[in-house]
Symmetry: C2
Subunit: 111 residues, 2 copies
Amino acid sequence: MEDKIKSGFLYDFYGELLTERQRSVYEMSVLDDLSLSEIADTLSISRQGVHDLLKRVDHQLEEYEAKLHLVEKFMNIRSDVISINELTKGQADAHTMAEISRLSSLILEEL
Amino acid sequence: MEDKIKSGFLYDFYGELLTERQRSVYEMSVLDDLSLSEIADTLSISRQGVHDLLKRVDHQLEEYEAKLHLVEKFMNIRSDVISINELTKGQADAHTMAEISRLSSLILEEL
């Protein structure tokens, strides 16, 4: 599950750096959930060709992340912000405020 | 000021996508604060050559941002997290908690 979320984030973050063809193959596969054969028919290329294109997309997205680490950074921030958001549903006391302060300081270090 | 911060962020975010030569020219200029002539001497190229390299770096960083908008996103998040952090220094009451809840929800939409 975590992997699927991460793969989606990778595409959200770096998808615009791919070529238009790469983006459309990725979207047919992951967003529209088409099979390799269906994509192959649509693009008039072989099933193997689609497979190779998708592998290259994954590889490129991973490569951008290996260089920039932005998805990792944003996922850490997201998890801390979710914790803050949860805390606001509890008691409004000094202990809660101290914990929110700690978490928000952590995020600012990450940013 | 805002511009200078943004330029630094652009480099922090996307610098790894530049070539090694582009990075070293950028760092000599912006981080080490060397003049065009000093950089030109170091690299044994013309002052104009350094100028062109720096322009191309700025252009490329702007181009990445135009595609990915990650610095903009990140600056918005940062500003909301700073507000949350400030709020934790005030009263621990329902009003403060509601405001922190609102801000953290805003961030989660952005993420």
